[in-house]
Symmetry: D2
Subunit: 342 residues, 4 copies
Amino acid sequence: MTHNIAILGASGYTGAELVRLIATHPNMKIAALSADRKAGMVMADVFPHLRHLSLPTLCTIDEIDFSTVDLCFCALPHKTSQQVIAALPAPLKIVDLSADFRLRDPAAYEKWYGNAHSALAQQDEAVYGLTEFYRDEITAARLVAGTGCNAATGQFALRPLIANAVIDLDDIILDLKCAVSGAGRSLKENLLHAELSEGTNAYAVGGTHRHLGEFDQEFSRLARRPVKVQFTPHLIPANRGILATCYVKGDAQIVYDTLCTAYADEVFIHMLPFGATPSTHDVRGSNFCHIGVTADRIENRAIVVATLDNLTKGSSGQALQNANLMLGEDETEGLMLAPLFP
Amino acid sequence: MTHNIAILGASGYTGAELVRLIATHPNMKIAALSADRKAGMVMADVFPHLRHLSLPTLCTIDEIDFSTVDLCFCALPHKTSQQVIAALPAPLKIVDLSADFRLRDPAAYEKWYGNAHSALAQQDEAVYGLTEFYRDEITAARLVAGTGCNAATGQFALRPLIANAVIDLDDIILDLKCAVSGAGRSLKENLLHAELSEGTNAYAVGGTHRHLGEFDQEFSRLARRPVKVQFTPHLIPANRGILATCYVKGDAQIVYDTLCTAYADEVFIHMLPFGATPSTHDVRGSNFCHIGVTADRIENRAIVVATLDNLTKGSSGQALQNANLMLGEDETEGLMLAPLFP
Amino acid sequence: MTHNIAILGASGYTGAELVRLIATHPNMKIAALSADRKAGMVMADVFPHLRHLSLPTLCTIDEIDFSTVDLCFCALPHKTSQQVIAALPAPLKIVDLSADFRLRDPAAYEKWYGNAHSALAQQDEAVYGLTEFYRDEITAARLVAGTGCNAATGQFALRPLIANAVIDLDDIILDLKCAVSGAGRSLKENLLHAELSEGTNAYAVGGTHRHLGEFDQEFSRLARRPVKVQFTPHLIPANRGILATCYVKGDAQIVYDTLCTAYADEVFIHMLPFGATPSTHDVRGSNFCHIGVTADRIENRAIVVATLDNLTKGSSGQALQNANLMLGEDETEGLMLAPLFP
Amino acid sequence: MTHNIAILGASGYTGAELVRLIATHPNMKIAALSADRKAGMVMADVFPHLRHLSLPTLCTIDEIDFSTVDLCFCALPHKTSQQVIAALPAPLKIVDLSADFRLRDPAAYEKWYGNAHSALAQQDEAVYGLTEFYRDEITAARLVAGTGCNAATGQFALRPLIANAVIDLDDIILDLKCAVSGAGRSLKENLLHAELSEGTNAYAVGGTHRHLGEFDQEFSRLARRPVKVQFTPHLIPANRGILATCYVKGDAQIVYDTLCTAYADEVFIHMLPFGATPSTHDVRGSNFCHIGVTADRIENRAIVVATLDNLTKGSSGQALQNANLMLGEDETEGLMLAPLFP
């Protein structure tokens, strides 16, 4: 059975990534693509790399007949997303890729995003989209909130450790190296090739990055008490990939075993041998997450390094994985593409 | 029906690319992977990006039981390849990715490669592997010689123009921009990140690049008289992609129409609108070739720009396309992956 | 004696490059820096790499007391530049880095830039700033027009060949590979790291790039008859550097000897040994230009490859070289910095 | 007065960087350049970017007449360096760039480098070359040991904090992002453009990187008790630059003030405004080090980020700074070149 799919916000990187992945999905058909400012254009003019596909012309959201749509991916900017989703027909299944439904607590949303939430009913209904940890809820959900790409990476490294209390909860440091596509197709000086290539810098230092809202929510929920982590992202001259270097206090072997146990049956999460370290190069363009654990020379300290592709496992791949569950498809359908190396 | 596949030389980039592509092919199974110096290693240690696949352990060629193999990809260095292929069991279907069987004339081989050919019977039997132009011969072939990646790019831009005599045959210039993976996994100073990134240079200037042997052979055959082109490759700081800028003398509109006619039914060759120019970014990781034609301000001159991914359409993708034909599979099977952008 | 220098348009790349170079010039002092939209900011906030220098706060042009300024570099956008320069005090020495005064013929200016010139008196007075070929005129000039960076590269490769009539004037092809800083600090999608890195494409194909106005003017003047060249620029994933691959018809040895003779006494122009090819890597950050000549395998064809740093020798370094002449300084003062490699 | 300079090991990156810097030094003359395997070659063939300089032909060390040399830079591999230096004439001033004389304790040397030291007298005599902290000793020294580039970056961030006991000495984490030229001109697969560009990975995780020997030595000496830090380097796709993100426990404002006080009179060390973060882009090719301090959202935690160019301030620039002191030159001579941006 073929599912009719709509993608709202198809002119951004996550929209294009959804199209790339769905292109080889056997049971999905792209029925509508919206891009308000580019409505009327053909996708090949917006993204020439999709030229070989037969795709609907870009349209406005209003022009879409949602009665024929089985599932809608919403790849719009946050704030816009909550308004659009609140207005969509009630029974429509939705996977949202924005930040709008990630935080359950309206006050937390307002704290991190600076405005009151305008779709409280949907916020209440939404399921957090970290597939490996919310599989049952996602399968049953109507509205799933895709996670932040940094938030996903950090959680894959740390959730089992926090849930099993094998590390010190008050001393967790995440140092992230983030590729530039995570910032989207935005025209900013620091994203220009001339200013970004050949170097690196930290940003949102000191606890101001919005994905901390997700870490706080999820880690505190797991620990059943407040957990606050330190999180410093760095921009690196690469287009895809996040590498999270996590410094934790605990026995490295226990840390490793805990992660191995947690991910033993997961198709997309791969534990490296103890002491090995992953590389963003090895997951590029794929839905896989690689995790390595090393013991530090200082007793009772471990370094957990996790990596994934921010546009795939960190965003559009995760969204498709969730959509598969919601539509009764095999969870891995369309997602087993091998990474692109070199 | 599942075909058993062997890949000789699996520890190089084209070997890894074959594995990547075959991984999503519905009717192929990798039965053996050889890599002489790395025999005994598991593929995940040589190429961690293939960690998620169940693959045979690397072995020596001698260890392979070819009686159970339906088709063998040979991704060995030239010179080695001819020796190995000469010794393989006679009825085995082979797609060779080296330069050893591209030139039909033993004298031409010796001229460009500096040594006498040691497998003349196989050289005589081999079919040139540019699928779109040798489809019938390839379908019937036992041994197919994959083309040079630069040679493929230039031929896609020029073959129909030469065959239809719509350009001056004595004044053809190909200026190529080539990504670094075309040089393979070789340890050379000029391939180091520190020396290659952030700049460009020409190499093999003046008519010394070996792929000229293929241009000479194929273009002269099409024209039924000697045709010599000028060809200057440049190394650019990118890992995948070739862009061929071809300067020809002829009417640009006729040039364009001739190419459009030639490729009207081809799945993998896409003509851009007249006056548009392709980008290597838009074919990365895919089996597609994009071609654009522009009229110069000087009368009767046209610029034809063709681009493809050297590891896919220029090498391993082409090889798989040929293998599909040889095994009775649909030509596009396993090859419709969309390009990776950004 | 110290010269007081003003730089108008100091918040762009060429402005910053002027500051970088002047920083080690023994006889120049930066007296004023303008940047209309960033007036009031300190340079360290606009360009943190200049943090170690004591520099004037950015101001508007109106705030500058030009009576104390010996020479003014004008690094403004074209069109703006002609308006500003027309209004500057008459005796002030000016080096303009925009395109506004490069073309002598007002009709040619209008053809290439789309608007009538509004400072015809200054246009008439301006000297073309290709130092090695207009040294005397520049020394005596009040207003010097910096050349286009692509135009400079192509002219270094070709001027002596055209002037000495050693090549076919009707069949000259320039294929340029251009780093991204030539496009300035402009916010465009195709200049984003995510869209530019890891690939290349041609642009302004077919004879539409504005620097052709300079080639037409200068080459026709040298040949005393109209000369039109073919010129195709390509954007490469690098921040600095232009490589011009020039295809000419003529005897390669004579071509080489002609260039060697022409540049025998030039400090900044270096001829490589016959048959060697230059690399953008070897001139990065410097005022040097490297040129190589190779004979093609086809008789009477030569390939001339020239490279320089577009921001230095192609723009701000050239401007400083001209300013040195205008102020009676040694031409090389402040310009002997070695290239940065790797 | 002009000092005659010899550089041993001139065919590596740090050797070339020394030549680049000395090229604009008013009082140094390069009298000899050695490179054993490339003896007899001219420097322009080894490093074409130095083509414009008049330099001695490369020779073997034996061919150098050290009686005419005032100071010798030794840019040889470790182990080789100690053997060569032990055999140099006694009164010769030497700045060593290898790891051989950085550790004062022969046992520590053997622990980190795996072999017994063979030049114990020189090891005993050598002064640790972190200029800003050993200025007087360096001025009086005959033999100065250049620091590790990672070790320099981390020490600039942390020394004043440890010396003034304003942070918890038992909980210091250094997460470093390191450009590839720090690995030298070595032919390794992971340094190839195809394998390094477009991604990142950690290496020497868990406390195995040799520069920890320097951190242990220096920090323990400052604290007068053993101090062990956690240190994880990451390779990033850039050619120059190290960014050290240091996680410390202490009051951020006190941390900031302590660093400001320590570096108030230093020409090359620049403190950013409180809360600002530095970028490797802003020090590229220069001898400057930029440091920023930010308070974390968690009380009593601060993030100190320091950046420098590994080849300049981290190696050859530091070496020249030390040589200036040893020769009675102004410490900054030849070192005030502005960073190259973009």
